[in-house]
């Protein structure tokens, strides 16, 4: 037995002896100074209630974290075919306001007819695109559409739009005929409906739209191009801005074959030839 063990052994014996020698006097129950009766039955329900509250708080934290991550992280969207969500929480009668006007960039946007699939979407943001230029003009909050006679049209950039993409909120481009465009939610984005939205690799964020359902959009989708990818070359020319891409895309004629190169968020490079 080394010194430490000897000391430890003495400590155990000493403490045991001190503990055993302790005089325990009789004290009243409940202890002195209590002025409230003890509720013996309050313990269990309170503890249960506390557990329930703790569970709810934990759940709220998890849901909040997921919502925050989803809300703040641009991500590549899964693409599926088909109409938008079937859940309907509002009816056409809720949408009484005229949904047409002028976007911040001065362009006129169209109308969302009440009763259609767009109007019935559970909660979405309308991404307004001028039918002629296919450029986004702004977006409207669904709640604004329901409760304001003149909904606010916000200017938009890609970050804003992606930032609003989360389950329960969808995006719908308003083009020539919104009725033909299914409302989409992030987990069920139909790139053909969105057209093609591409973030440029420069600070300026811009958009290019392919006609929803058009051969170009379909080809790009089939080629694997997704939202958030960066197009680096288009039709033989390097692309350094969204405007440049818009211009190049606008020049394309139906049936034209074009080679396109892009990188995804992980930095992987891809090249494909697509049919417009």
């Amino acid at each position: 037995m080394n010194d430490n063990e000897r000391v430890e052994e003495r400590l155990r014996r000493t403490f045991a002896q001190v503990g055993a020698s302790t005089t325990i006097t009789s004290r009243s129950i409940p202890p002195i100074g209590l002025d409230e009766p003890i509720n013996q039955h309050s313990r269990l329900p309170t503890r249960r209630a506390k557990t329930v509250v703790a569970s709810l708080v934990s759940l709220a934290v998890v849901v909040g974290a997921v919502a925050w991550i989803t809300h703040s992280t641009p991500r590549r969207l899964n693409v599926i075919e088909g109409p938008g969500p079937s859940t309907t929480t509002r009816t056409a009668s809720n949408l009484s306001c005229p949904l047409s006007g002028t976007a911040p960039n001065g362009e006129t946007y169209g109308t969302i007819p009440p009763g259609g699939p767009v109007a019935k979407a559970p909660d979405f943001i309308a991404v307004l695109a001028n039918p002629a230029t296919r450029r986004i003009g702004g977006y409207i909050n669904r709640t604004d559409m329901s409760h304001q006679s003149h909904p606010t049209v916000y200017g938009c950039d890609l970050t804003t739009i992606i930032g609003h993409l989360y389950p329960g909120k969808g995006v719908v481009p308003v083009g020539v005929n919104p009725e033909t465009v299914p409302t989409v939610v992030p987990e069920e984005v139909n790139i053909n409906a969105l057209g093609l939205t591409v973030e440029s690799n420069v600070a300026h964020v811009d958009f290019v739209f392919a006609e929803p359902g058009s051969p170009l959009a379909t080809s790009l989708h089939r080629a694997g191009l997704g939202l958030g990818d960066t197009i680096t070359r288009f039709d033989g020319s390097p692309v350094s801005s969204g405007t440049q891409l818009n211009t190049a895309a606008a020049r394309l004629q139906p049936g034209h074959q074009v080679q396109i190169s892009w990188t995804d968020k992980a930095g992987h490079e891809y090249t494909a030839t697509i049919q417009t």
């Binding site: 430890e8 002896q17 503990g19 202890p31 309050s42």
Partner: protein, 180 residues
């Protein structure tokens, strides 16, 4: 080596209902006490808590007061406390801290030796222990009397495990030197 404590009234153990099992974390105990009344906890745990307080403060009288205060606090928070023994242990230890500091400020510990416990070797050990700083005394008492793990001691003393280890190490070093 079997702890002498295990032959006595268990500290921090599940008592009653025909069994005794060590439960330093108090989890089993909390479950066990789920439907028990304050009076039951008082009667079952007052004596072990007084003994613990005695071991930490070195004063039987102060230990009684400390434990009485601890039970009053437990009573006030009865509906919120999920692990009464753990709560008591923490409150008792921290009240002992106040008690020890008060004793120090009154210089009582320098004017009188520790209470005699009957055996010269143990008296000497006890006297040395009573001269240690509070944290070292508390760590020794919680470890060698209450048989608590370092993590639980750290929780009770509201410090890091490393602090517990260093206090333990320093206390043993001091005692090793004093008792050589």
């Amino acid at each position: 080596m079997k702890s002498p404590q295990s032959e006595m009234e268990p500290f921090g153990a599940v008592v009653g209902h025909g069994g005794v099992s060590q439960d330093p974390s108090g989890e089993l105990l909390a479950e066990h006490l789920g439907g028990l009344s304050f009076e039951t906890v008082f009667s079952e745990y007052r004596a072990p808590m007084v003994r613990l307080a005695h071991v930490i403060t070195g004063s039987n009288e102060a230990a009684e007061d400390v434990v009485q205060e601890a039970f009053m606090r437990l009573h006030r928070r009865w509906a919120d406390v999920e692990n009464p023994p753990g709560f008591l242990r923490t409150v008792v230890t921290n009240l002992c801290r106040t008690q020890v500091k008060r004793s120090r400020s009154e210089r009582r510990h320098t004017q009188r030796t520790a209470e005699s416990i009957g055996e010269p070797e143990l008296d000497e050990t006890w006297d040395r222990v009573c001269r240690l700083p509070f944290r070292q005394r508390a760590v020794l008492a919680l470890r060698y009397y209450a048989d608590l793990p370092e993590a639980e001691i750290a929780r009770i003393l509201k410090c890091r495990i490393g602090t517990v280890k260093s206090a333990h190490h320093r206390a043993l070093a001091t005692l090793r030197q004093d008792l050589a």
